[in-house]
Amino acid sequence: MTLLEFARGPGMQWALVIFLVGVAWRLVGTFLIARRRDLSKPKGTAYVKAGARSMIMRSIPPHELEKNIQFQHLTGYAWHLGFFATLLLFGPHVPFFQQFLGFGWPTLPNIVVLVIAGFTLAILIALVVRRIIHPVMRQISTLDDWIAVFLVIIPLVTGFLSYAHIGVMGVRYETLLGLHILSIEALLVWFPFSKLMHLFFTFPSRYQIGVSMERKGVKA
C-alpha cells in the first residue's frame, strides 16, 4: 500500500472515526455537566432572543471595545474565510467531497483559490509571529495553540506543493498528495482534543452569555 493509498483509505477512515467519536464525546461530556439553578429574580426573561442576539452580535463588538482588537479581529475573519474557501471551493477538492456526499458544487477558478490560500497562509504566519512576540500571546499560549496552528498551516503548505508538483528532495507528486491528505487527517485527529473544538463550542457559549446577561438586564 502506497502512502497515497493509505491516506485515501484507512488513514481517512480512522481519522474520521476519531474525529466523530472524539467530538461527540467532548460535546456530550461537557453539556451533561449540571448547570447551577439561580434563584434570583431575573430582570429579563427573553432568553432565546437574547441568546440568539449574542450569537450574532459577538461578531460585531461595539467600537470602543473593537478599536484595540482590530488587527486580531480582521485577520481572524480573513484567515477563517480563506481556509474554508480553499477547502470547499477549490476545484480538485470538490470531487473528494463528492465521493462521500454524492453531490458536488460550483468551484472558484484555481488561480483565485491559490491567491486566497496564499493570503491565508501569510496571515497565519503573521499570527504565529504575533503569538511569539506579543506579551499577551506569549503569556497565555499553550502547546495546544502551537500544535493547532501548525496543523492548520501544514495542509496549506502541502497543498501548494502538491498543486505545483514541486518535488522536495525528489519526492514524487503522489507522495506529496498523500502527505497533503495525511495533514488534513492529522488536523481531524487532533481536532477533538484541542481548541479547534471552538467550531462547535462558540455558539453555545455565546448563547449562554446572552442568556446570563439577559437575566441581569444587559444586552451582551
Binding site: 464525546w25 467532548r26 456530550v28 461530556g29 461537557t30 453539556f31 451533561l32 455537566i33 449540571a34 448547570r35 447551577r36 439561580d38 434563584l39 434570583s40 429574580k41 430582570k43 449574542s54 450569537m55 459577538r58 461578531s59 463588538p61 461595539p62 470602543e64 471595545l65 484595540n68 482588537i69 486580531q72 479581529h73 481572524g76 506579543h134 506579551p135 499577551v136 500571546m137 506569549r138 503569556q139 497565555i140 499560549s141 499553550t142 502547546l143 495553540d145 477533538p192 482534543f193 481548541k195 473544538m197 471552538h198 463550542f201 462558540t202 453555545p204 457559549s205 455565546r206 448563547y207 449562554q208 452569555i209 446572552g210 446570563s212 446577561m213 441581569k216 438586564g217 444587559v218 451582551a220
Partner: protein, 443 residues
C-alpha cells in the same frame, strides 16, 4: 488633601494595620491546594465548563482590561487570571481530562501564591472583558470562584481576612455597627432630617453603608430626604448590617452569606415589599443576585439600588425635581456592579435628564464603561496602589475627553476611588453623587 481623601487614606492605613495584627493559622501547602480544588469542584458548573472548553487564547480580553492597558503586562490578561481554575477543570472534570492528566501538570502551591496577587490586586471584577470575548466567555464569575478558592486556602490579603473575621465575629465593618448608624441618624435628626430607625414594620427597608456612615453621611441625608418627600413608609434597620457586603468582594463565602442572611432576615421581619440598597455597587449586586441563592429561596421582596429607585420614581412622575441652571454638563460613571452586573443604565440617566443637565457620555459608557479602578475592594488595597492609579488614569482620560463639568456616579466605592485618585493625580474634576444631586434639587 481634601478631608475625604485624608479619611480614605486613613482607612487604608487602618485596614493595613488590622491586617498586620489578624491572627490566622497558615495551612500547609498541600492543604491549600486541596482546599482550592474543593472549591473549584463545588463551584464549577456546566456554564463554566462550556466557557473553559471554548477559550481560544486569542488574548482579546486583555485589550479591554484597564490593568493590561495601563501596564502592557501579559499576566493581567483576564482569562489568564483564572488559569488554575481552567487547569483544574481540564485535568479533573473535563471529558478529555483522563488524557490531559498525562500531559498537564497539576496546580501547585506556587501557582496559588502567584494567582492570589492576580485575582485580588489586579482585577476589579468589572466584567468589561465579558463584553468583548468573541467566544462569549463570561470571565467575571470565574474570578469570583478564584477569589473564593484563594480565601478558602487562607491566602486572601490580610486586610480582607481582618474584615471577614470582624463580620463573622462582631457583625460590624471597620468597627461600624448599629451604634454608629444610630449616631448618624441622631446627627441628621439634629439637622431636621427625619430618619426612621428600626420601625417594626415598614413597606420599604433601606440599608445603610458603613462607608457612607464614615465618609459620606451626606448621601444618607440625601436618601432620607428623598424617601420622606415621597411619603413612603420606610425604615433603616440598624441590625441589617453593612450594605456593602464587603465579603462579596473578599471572597469569604461564609462571611458573605452571614451578611446576606442578616439583610434578608431584617427585611422579611419588617414585612417590606422593597429593599433599597444605597449608593453601593457591591452591596446591590450581592443582595440582588446572591441573596436568594444564599437563603435558598426566592426573596419575598424586590431589591433595588437607590439610583434605580430614584430614576424610576422620577420617570413615573412621583418624584419631582427642579431643573438645574442651564449650562451644567456632567458625565455619568456607571458603577460596574450596578451597570454591567445588574443592568441599571437608564434610570440614573433619567434622573440626570430630569435635572436638566447636559449628559456628555464617555466613549466607553453603560455596558462598555471603564471601571474606576477601585472595585472589588481594590480601593482599600494598598498593594494595588500602582495598578489602581494606572486604571484611574484611563478613566480620567475618558472623562476629560467629554469636556463635562463634573463626574456623577451612584456608588460610594467608585466615589472613594475617584476622590482618592483625583487627589493622587491632582485632577480637579468635581465628583458628585447622583442621590445627593437629586436630593439637593427636589421640587
Amino acid at each position: 488633601m481634601s478631608a475625604v481623601a485624608t479619611d480614605i487614606q486613613r482607612l487604608r492605613e487602618e485596614l493595613r494595620d488590622r491586617g498586620a495584627t489578624v491572627k490566622t493559622t497558615e495551612l500547609p501547602p498541600a492543604e491549600r491546594v486541596a482546599r482550592v480544588k474543593e472549591v473549584f469542584a463545588r463551584r464549577l458548573d456546566g456554564n463554566m465548563a462550556t466557557y473553559l472548553e471554548t477559550c481560544l487564547h486569542c488574548g482579546m480580553c486583555a485589550e479591554v482590561c484597564h490593568f493590561y492597558e495601563a501596564t502592557g503586562e501579559g499576566k493581567y490578561t483576564p482569562i489568564y487570571k483564572v488559569e488554575p481554575l481552567r487547569r483544574f477543570y481540564r485535568r479533573e472534570l473535563a471529558p478529555m481530562g483522563w488524557l490531559r492528566k498525562l500531559v498537564m501538570r497539576d496546580i501547585t502551591p506556587a501557582d496559588l501564591d502567584e494567582w492570589q496577587k492576580l485575582v485580588y490586586d489586579a482585577c476589579t471584577q468589572c466584567a468589561r472583558c465579558d463584553m468583548i470575548c468573541p467566544m462569549g466567555i463570561q470571565i467575571s464569575p470565574m474570578i469570583a470562584v478564584m477569589r473564593e478558592a484563594i480565601a478558602e486556602a487562607g491566602m486572601q490579603p490580610a486586610e480582607n481576612k481582618a474584615l471577614a473575621k470582624e463580620v463573622l465575629e462582631k457583625g460590624t465593618l471597620m468597627g461600624v455597627g448599629p451604634e454608629d448608624y444610630r449616631r448618624v441618624a441622631a446627627d441628621l435628626a439634629a439637622q431636621g432630617i427625619v430618619v426612621p430607625l428600626d420601625k417594626p414594620k415598614a413597606r420599604v427597608v433601606m440599608l445603610m453603608s458603613a462607608m457612607d456612615a464614615m465618609l459620606f453621611t451626606s448621601a444618607i441625608a440625601a436618601t432620607a430626604k428623598i424617601m420622606n418627600r415621597l411619603g413612603l413608609d420606610w425604615t433603616f434597620r440598624t441590625n441589617a448590617g453593612d450594605a456593602a457586603v464587603f465579603d462579596w468582594t473578599s471572597g469569604d463565602e461564609r462571611a458573605k452569606a452571614a451578611a446576606l442572611r442578616k439583610i434578608v432576615a431584617e427585611t422579611v421581619d419588617a414585612g417590606a415589599s422593597t429593599l433599597i440598597v444605597p449608593e453601593c455597587g457591591h452591596g446591590y449586586a450581592a443582595v440582588r443576585w446572591d441573596g436568594a441563592n444564599v437563603v435558598g429561596a426566592e426573596l419575598p421582596f424586590e431589591v433595588l439600588s437607590i439610583s434605580e429607585f430614584v430614576g424610576r420614581e422620577i420617570e413615573a412622575g412621583r418624584l419631582k425635581v427642579k431643573p438645574l441652571p442651564a449650562g451644567k454638563s456632567v458625565t455619568y460613571h456607571d458603577p460596574c456592579k450596578i451597570g454591567r452586573w445588574s443592568g441599571v443604565f437608564e434610570e440614573p440617566r433619567s434622573a440626570l435628564k430630569a435635572l436638566g443637565v447636559e449628559i456628555r457620555e464617555m466613549e466607553s459608557h453603560a455596558k462598555t464603561n471603564y471601571c474606576c479602578g477601585g472595585g472589588a475592594g481594590l480601593v482599600l488595597n494598598e498593594r494595588a496602589n500602582k495598578l489602581r492609579a494606572g486604571a484611574f488614569h484611563i478613566k480620567m482620560r475618558e472623562a476629560d475627553a467629554t469636556g463635562a463639568g463634573s463626574v456623577v456616579t451612584a456608588c460610594g466605592h467608585c466615589r472613594m476611588t475617584f476622590i482618592a485618585g483625583a487627589q493622587h493625580a491632582n485632577w480637579q474634576k468635581p465628583i458628585e453623587s447622583l442621590v445627593e444631586l437629586v436630593a439637593a434639587n427636589l421640587a
